[in-house]
Structures are given as C-alpha cells and as structure tokens.
Amino acid sequence: MAALNLSKINRTALAERKTHKKISMIMIIMLAVASVLCWMADSEGLQILGLFLYCVGMGVGIIAGVSVFREMTNSQLGDVKLSLPLSNAERFLSRLLTLAYVHVIPMLVFGFIGALGLFLNDGVISDEEVWQALTLMVAYTFFIDSVTVFCTCCCGALAESIYFSVIAIGCLSVVPAAICYRIAQGFAGMGDYPDFIKYWTLSSAFALNDCVNKADYYVPQIISILISCLVFFAAYQIFRRRDARSIGDPIAVRPFFEAIMLIGVFTVYSAFICTSSFNIGVIITAVIYITINIIVSRAKISFKRIVGWLAKLAATSLLFFGVVVAGFLTDGFGAYNHLPVRKMNNCSVQIDSSFYMTNDSLKEKNGEAHGDYTDAEIRDMIKIARKYGKRDKTFDRFKSIVFDDNSGSYSYYNYVEGGENKYAYLSINVYKDYKNYTRNILSQSICIERDDFDALFNELADKGYDSRITVNDYSSNGYDDYMDEVEY
C-alpha cells in the first residue's frame, strides 16, 4: 500500500461532509435536544425522551453510512468519485472520516454532554449506569456504522444497501443469542443468556445487565468497538476490490447475500422454534425469502428460478434442523457438562429437587444441598448431580421440544417421557452475593429418575456436603391442605 496522504484524506472528508449537510444538521439538532433533555433534573419523562432521541441518533447511522458510501450504489457518483485522485485506501479512510464527522463525533460529543447532565442531576439512571450507558452507546454506534458500511460495500443498489443493513443489524443481534439460548443452552437445561453476546451486537445490553464489576462492563465494550473496527477492515477489503462495474447490481458480493439469507432464515426459525407456531414460522420465512429474492432479481423472474429459490430455502431449513438435531443429540453441543470458566470460590451452591408421592399418599419429598463452598467443592457437587441426569434421545421427545410450546420453560428441554411419577427435576444454582446484588454464575435444570433421588443426595451427604432429604406428610391434614401447600 502506498503511503497515505493524511492531510488530503482529512481535507476530502471535510469536503464530503458538506455534501451530507442535511443528515449532519438533523443529527446535530436532534442530539442537541437530547442532551438538553438529559439536563432536565426535575422531569424523568423528558430525560427518557432524551435517551430515546439518542437511540434514534444511533439508528441514523444506517442512513448516514449508506449516504456517505453512496458512490458504491450510484453510477453517476461512482464515475466522479472513482476518477478523483485518491487511492482506494485513501478514499475508504476519507469516507470513514466523513462518517465520523457526520455521525460518530456528534454522537460522542452530545452523548457526553447528556451523560454529564444525568450524572450531575438525579436522573432516571444511576451515576454509574450513566457512564455504562455512554460506552454502550459508543459501542452500538460503531456496531451499526460498521455493519452498514460492510453491507453497503457488498450491495450495488441503494435499496439493497439500506434494507440489507437493517436485516443484518437485526439478525446479527438476534441469531447468535437465539441459537445459543434456545438450542445449545436449552438442550443443556441452562437458562442464562450466553456470556459471549456481551461482546458485540445490539443484544449485548442484555448480558451486560448482569455485570457487577466495572471491568466486566467496560472491557466487553472495548472489545465490541474493536470487533466493529475489524468489520470496517473487512468492508475495506471488499471496497478496494470493487470498481464501478458492479454499481447498479443489487448485490455486488454474492456470498454476502447468501450469508444474510442464511442467518435471516435462522433468525426467524429461532424465534418460532419451541413454540406451537413453528409451522407459521416456516410459512413466514418462505414468504420473506421469496420476496427478497424477487426484489433482488428485479424483473428477471422465471418459474425455474422460483423453484431454485425454494430448493435453497429447503436446504437452509435442513441445515437449521441439522443444527437443532446436533444440539439435541449432544446435549446442547456439550453445554450440559460445561462448567463455568471463572473461579467459583465464595459462591453459594444450591442443589434441590422435590416431588409428590401422589400415588400412594399425599407426601412431598425434598432433597436439598446448599451452602458456601470452595471452587473445587462446587465443581465436584455439580459433577455428581449431573451424573444422575437422564437425557432421552427419542424422536418423540425431539418433536415435542421443537413443535410444542416450550418457549417459556427451559426445563422442558430435559423433559423425559414417563411423566412425574417416575422422574423429578433437579435445579442446580450457583450464585454470588455482591453488595445489593446477586450474580448468577450457573443455572441448570436437569431431569433425574426418582429411583436415583435418594442415591444422589446420599452421595452428596457421604462426601461431606450439607445434604439432606425431608418428607412432608400431608396425609393427616387431608387433600385441601395438600393443595394449599402445592399452590404455595
């Protein structure tokens, strides 16, 4: 790469910024209003409105990104801008700098002013959360801008660059978390948000909500910004390879289109799996899939092509079900036996289960093991408990998981045919109490045979853990008392 002329890059970026005066002005006015609203100490409603305007400001990144890189989708602008004396690297950096002037810098400047307002006054969020929210906003801004620039570099038409950016931002935010939550962790009986989602995408806020230490919060944000920078770099690799020939083609980079369609299908299926509406999900997916293909193909549609699209959708669907089956057969890709990486010293562990012996008498049998243990002890207890878990791999069970309404309870993923007469559910929880806050380290629900119930808790007791079995006898009080107890 030839030496970059940085002063020229900056000069041309400023010149380009003037061609996006309208977006620039809208951003500045909107964010200025948002920052002023955040200084309104006596009105939480206005502060919330201010925060909402910041969210809109982040979303404007899609329009700003597409607009700044318009030469990728407009042949007239492509003719002009590709003939101007800048190398491809300089041109890309110039456009990124323009995007920074139009979108990122206003977000940073007005975001900081607004955060200061919330910090100095009693606002809708606490002082610590103010700075967390500011870093989250920066990370989100980088995420939206980087994905938009990447999509624009892969598209040759304005419409595609906009709606594919929206689809990509949405799907990237949803699909990894959904796949992991619904399939990997679901089949392992776990109910937490996967830890990795805090490192990128719009879903990171959900995982970051659980963070306690400052480092837990800010480090993922820095990593998120670095990942966005990598996406910018990937966009540059496409940008520098594209000349004006692909301008006007809806999709300039075919693998990009296929990837977006794949994660789009996975996203919709993930949203509908484990609900009784999965069949509707399949129909919705097919309609969206064909519609996008028709739009992208413009007027060039034939029966043969529609059949081809349906075949591709079928193959994508099979791939999705392949992933689901693999998750089912491997107990969530091995997540069932996964233990937390972090040390669990000074954590509390709670392993408990109960069932009702309704066939012979109105009795409830409880098994419980809990207390504060060392990391090694907790790992040992979890391993013992998991050893007794039952995970049937029958087709009926698979069908029941995928097509029945199991979305509300992850424990159903461990459901074993036979009903409650033979099995009990065992919950394993590891957590740590911080000042005014409890951090969940591990939460898992597994199915055990009732015959193994006593053996499990006896083994825990034999190993010296505070474990006991109790039996509550409701027979003497009659059925009504029993029902009251059950409801309680």
């Binding site: 030839a2 002329n5 020229k8 000069r11 041309t12 400023l14 010149a15 003037k18 061609t19 407009n74 007239q76 602008l77 492509g78 003719d79 002009v80 590709l82 003939s83 101007l84 004396p85 800048l86 190398s87 491809n88 300089e90 040759g156 520098r240 000349d243 004006a244 020939r245 692909s246 006007g248 083609d249 809806p250 999709i251 300039a252 980079v253 075919r254 289109f257 992208v296 193909s297 413009r298 060039k300």
Partner: protein, 309 residues
C-alpha cells in the same frame, strides 16, 4: 502519453441474474500522444464510455494494459491527479453551487487554479451562488467544464460533453476548451456521436464498433484513406466485380444507368493507379467527410443499414 495495449473488457452479468457476460471492448490498442485533441467515435454501445472510464480508473483494467505517462491508473492517486473526467451526466452535481463545486474539487486537486476558475466563470457569466439544480442543462455542462479546466490536469476526458449546449454556446465552450488546452499543452479526449463535432475539434480520432477498433489515426490520414469514386461508361456501367478484380476494396456500390458510384478504401494515388486500366468516359474521385466515413464503415458492418439508406 496514453498507451492502450490489447485492452478488453467483459462485463459479467449482474450478480443475481446469471447468464453470459458481455464483451464491451475487444483487444483495443491505441496510443494517444501528448498535447493532442483525440476523438472517440462509435455507435451507441460501441464501448467509448467504457474505454474512457478505464482510462480514468473508474473501471479496473483486467485484460491488457492502460498506462498514462508510464503509470497504471487504477488505484493510483498520482496518475489520477493528472486526469479530470467529465461523464455524460450532471445530475450528481445538482446539490452544489458553482462555488461549492470549486471548494469540493480544490480539496481533491492540489493543482486547482482559482484564477482560471474566476476567469472562465466571468467569461461564461455563470452565477456562483446558485445551486446547479437551478441551472439549465447547458449551464450545468458549462459549469462542469469550467471545473475540469480549473483543475489544471494534464488530461481532460469529456464523455458526450457538449450534449445540451445550443450551437452558439457549443462554439464558445469548444473554443474555451481548445484555448485552455493549447495554452498548457494538455491532452483532451472527447467522445461523441456527433462526427462533425469531432471532425471540427480533434486532430486525431478513433472509431470503435461493438467493442472492436475499426481505425485510429490523424483525422487527415483517415480522410485521405477513403474516396468516393464516380465512373460513367456509355453502354455498360462498370460492375462491382470489375472494380474488385482491380484490387480495390469497395465499401459501398450503387449504379444508376451508365453511372456508378462507389466508396473505396485507399489513397487517391493508389485508386487512380488501379483505375488506369479501366476505360471510362468520366472518372471522378471525391474526398469523404469524417461523417461519411463513419456511416460507410458502420454500414459495411451491418450497423443501421436500413436506417442509413
């Protein structure tokens, strides 16, 4: 100097539609010397604009080579700094004022001359504070040409640059361009369908058709290479086969009674020498205009023959 060697360009069909590619240029080789005014002639879709876009680095040259002063132009900022390209549209500039355009291009071209800009604006009397959207098509063209000349580049490429100008303004703009280019020994490349315009403006030209080069030379040499021959012979007119037997390359032939008219490729001396063995009552050789050469060359290749007759 611009050296174009064995350049071909294949447009792959749009990514999602599949199908065969389209060959826009097929093995083109020409040399454009410094300081000349070079005309690109060709039918619609011949490949003129494609070649021009390759010359200024808008398209990447993948087959063959294009070198400007010994440098590849694609992804080469220094080489592009010597080129200004005006494409066949002005819609991309409509949000600018002329003064805004000056600032925009000044940021890209280190060689931009405010003095030239002010002088040319004064010459054409264009407002600098009005948006180009409010300009007529001709005024937009003038504005872009002013910007192009003010960038003080060694090469200016104008794709259908005179479209939309009325005849009087066309002459003013042409004179303005020629004066500026001659003053600084710059090279101008113009593409146009208007053959008379190329004939009037350029000292060299090339003709391409369906991506293939038909000829490229000085305009005088091109015109000297064709003659319209009129032969009259009482009794039996001179047949086409008779002329071809003499070794003449006939591009077009027509007969009316005892008089025949043929368009023949070759110099006047060569044609006269070959015709010396044929006895005729009248033999007359008439030079062709560039426009006639354009029409006969394309007609000989089956282009628009029905419409041109």
């Amino acid at each position: 100097m611009i050296e174009i060697q064995n350049v071909s360009m294949v447009f792959k069909q749009a990514g999602m539609s599949g199908g065969e590619g389209f060959k826009a240029l097929d093995d083109i080789s020409i040399t454009i010397p410094e300081g000349c005014i070079y005309g690109f002639l060709g039918s619609n879709g011949a490949g003129k604009s494609t070649l021009m876009r390759m010359l200024c680095g808008v398209y990447k040259t993948e087959l063959g080579s294009i070198r400007i002063d010994g440098r590849d132009v694609y992804d080469n900022a220094a080489a592009k700094g010597d080129i200004f390209f005006v494409n066949d549209e002005t819609v991309q500039f409509t949000t600018f004022t002329l003064d805004g355009l000056r600032k925009y291009y000044r940021s890209y071209y280190d060689s931009f001359s405010d003095e030239t800009f002010d002088r040319l604006v004064a010459k054409l009397g264009l407002p600098t504070d009005k948006r180009l959207a409010e300009f007529s098509k001709g005024m937009k063209r003038q504005a872009v040409v002013i910007i192009g000349l003010s960038c003080m580049t060694k090469y200016i490429m104008l794709d259908e640059a005179f479209d939309g100008l009325d005849p009087a303004m066309r002459k003013v703009v042409k004179n303005m361009i020629v004066d500026e280019m001659l003053d600084r020994q710059a090279t101008l490349i113009v593409s146009s369908h208007n053959v008379a315009e190329i004939n009037e403006l350029c000292d060299r030209a090339m003709l391409i058709h369906k991506g293939k080069l038909i000829f490229a030379d000085e305009i005088d040499e091109i015109q000297g290479g064709f003659r319209k021959v009129q032969l009259a012979r009482a009794g039996s007119p001179v047949a086409r086969e008779e002329l071809e037997a003499l070794g003449l390359e006939i591009m077009q032939y027509s007969a009316l009674g005892s008089v025949i008219q043929a368009v023949v490729r070759g110099t006047e001396e060569d044609i006269m020498r070959k015709l010396s063995s044929v006895k005729t009552d009248i033999t007359e050789l008439i030079p062709l205009t560039l426009e006639e050469i354009f029409i006969y060359e394309l007609e000989a290749r089956g282009y628009g023959s029905a419409e041109l007759k």
